[in-house]
């Protein structure tokens, strides 16, 4: 029977992956996990035995493969992943788009490039375990969470390990793939019950990238931990705070604060309202949900086409603005929602809304740009506040 890594241990593993020094963990760290995982390097004998830790070191990230130990995890495999500063460069590359995986899943190019840099070596290291592993546990924090998600998807689609069960644990992970990818991975991992996505309510990283990227598991079943305040926080992205928040959580069943779903009716109600609101985590989540909702209506309801024209001098924001403008002009049942979205963004920006507001691609682009700039300033303020205390 498959055993799940408990919340605190999963968080501690996601934390110690940052504490690797020249391919070695220190003796105290190895001792901490010795009853569950063998984190000792083959060159460092512990109790007369050679370790089994495998380390993949790339400029863009690290991968660690360790064998399970003891009654609980004997016969299991642990894959710990983490990104580096370089991964962030890729993630923030404005020319990055969507890449197709070998299994034709559509994922974020930056994260996928990083995963690909480790994949060949990972494949070599894992192939010897085919048919011998009960469960593979993929664990990662932040960008490592994105890599762990891609790894879990790859293991499920490649048949590299045969029939091994795959479990995924992420902490403060950004979104990784499109809705199709999220749907597929959710389905693959026991309809999402083998996915343990943990995030602090105010952690800023899980909020990005926004549409067309979606979290896994696709619907609910994510573990939203409480964190103070209502503004995006850099501090509560840190692994240290995830460990502290989970310090008293013995098993996943005790974590009852699952991510609250945002219903379509709530989105429609929010879009239809004209009240003033502040840009908080809640309203940012609502803006994201509303954007997804309206874009879906425009793209799939009105059949608006967005061409891939990178390199033709048209920016991505131009394209989004043009798509929304087309949706506004094409059909009445989409135009109302584009108009309402723009009005809600204007409220967020503190702008006065004219009665005869004319929605053009130019206006949409202006509003989206201004909104993003405002979010930028807000995130900066939040982070500055944390460090000026």
């Amino acid at each position: 029977m498959s055993v799940t890594i408990p919340p605190l241990q999963a968080a501690s593993l996601a934390q110690v992956v940052y504490q690797l020094q020249d391919s070695f963990f220190n003796r105290a760290t190895i001792d901490r996990f010795k009853n569950s995982w063998d984190l000792s390097h083959p060159e460092a004998k512990v109790d007369g035995k050679s370790g089994t830790l495998w380390v993949i070191k790339k400029q863009t990230g690290f991968g660690i493969v360790a064998e399970g130990r003891g009654d609980q995890f004997g016969g299991d495999l642990l894959i710990l992943l983490r990104g580096t500063d370089n991964t962030f460069d890729w993630a923030t590359d404005a020319t990055a788009g969507i890449s197709w995986t070998e299994a034709s899943d559509k994922v974020h190019t930056g994260f996928y490039k990083c995963f690909l840099s480790m994949k060949t070596e990972l494949e070599q290291k894992l192939s010897r375990y085919k048919g011998k592993i009960r469960t593979v546990h993929c664990v990662g924090h932040s960008l490592g969470g994105a890599l762990a998600s891609l790894c879990a998807n790859w293991l499920q689609t490649s048949n590299l390990l045969g029939q091994s069960k795959v479990q995924l644990y992420t902490f403060g992970s950004p979104r990784v793939g499109t809705e199709g990818f999220a749907k597929k991975l959710t389905h693959q991992l026991d309809l999402g019950t083998d996915i343990y996505r943990v995030f602090h309510k105010t952690d800023v990283v899980p909020m990005v990238p926004i549409w067309p990227f979606f979290h896994v598991p696709l619907k609910n079943h994510s573990y939203c931990l409480n964190s103070p305040g209502s503004l995006p926080s850099g501090e509560f992205h840190k692994m240290k705070n995830y460990v502290l928040s989970l310090s008293k959580s013995k098993d996943w069943g005790t974590l009852v604060d699952l991510e609250p779903p945002v219903s379509e009716s709530a989105i429609e109600k929010w879009l239809a309202s004209d009240g003033v609101y502040a840009l908080t985590i809640n309203s940012l989540n609502m803006i994201n949900s509303a954007l997804v909702y309206v874009i879906k209506k425009v793209l799939y309801g009105a059949g608006v086409l967005v061409q891939n024209s990178v390199g033709l001098g048209i920016t991505l924001l131009d394209q989004l603005a043009m798509a929304l403008a087309k949706g506004y002009n094409l059909a009445k049942d989409t135009s109302i929602w584009v108009l309402r979205l723009m009005k809600r963004i204007m409220v967020a920006l503190g702008m006065k809304i004219k009665k005869d507001l004319e929605v053009t691609a130019q206006l949409i682009k202006f509003l989206l740009t201004a909104l993003l700039e405002k979010v930028h300033r807000m995130v900066k303020t939040a982070v500055d506040f944390v460090f000026s205390e």
Partner: protein
């Protein structure tokens, strides 16, 4: 007809959000300039060998954080006492995507032998983060074998008690 071309270019907003983060993490330098990381908290200790104070022994403290390497040393007095002040980083902290991890070690040299007193990875940049709030006041016996102590954030190998 519903066009099924994937709107790959509409990731712009996503990228913008990430750019926000990147810009923020870069621009935080100024904001946190006064907020230097504590790489090794002030430490006081008494070293004994078979119960007797170890006199005039060289105690060496090392710490590595990112590309910063620090080393300082002191000597025990007639009662076996030694101390180190807080060791602060040269640079300020950044927020994303870095995780704070300072690799610490204290050793003592005696009769051409080296004894490990303390080794851990400090995961919190605040003062006394090593012991999660408790001050580093040690009594260390060289005849003791090093043991492992596991706190919530830190795992420590040490010959010392506190």
């Amino acid at each position: 007809m519903l066009n099924k071309i994937v709107p790959t270019n509409l990731i712009f907003l996503s990228v913008c959000f990430l750019l926000c983060l990147a810009a923020c993490s870069n621009s935080q330098g100024d904001a946190v300039a006064m907020n230097k990381a504590n790489l090794f908290s002030a430490t006081e200790g008494v070293i004994t060998l078979a119960g007797a104070p170890l006199q005039n022994a060289e105690v060496i403290r090392t710490v590595r954080w990112r590309d910063e390497n620090h080393q300082d040393s002191t000597a025990t007095d007639a009662d076996g006492n030694f101390s180190f002040p807080d060791l602060m980083s040269d640079r300020s902290l950044s927020v994303l995507p870095s995780e704070f991890n300072a690799f610490q070690k204290i050793i003592v040299k005696h009769n051409n032998e080296t004894f490990l007193l303390w080794e851990t990875v400090k995961a919190d940049p605040v003062s006394n983060g090593e012991l999660e709030g408790e001050a580093l006041r040690f009594t260390c016996e060289l005849n003791e074998e090093p043991r492992f102590v596991h706190l919530l954030l830190n795992s420590i190998e040490t010959r010392c008690h506190w």
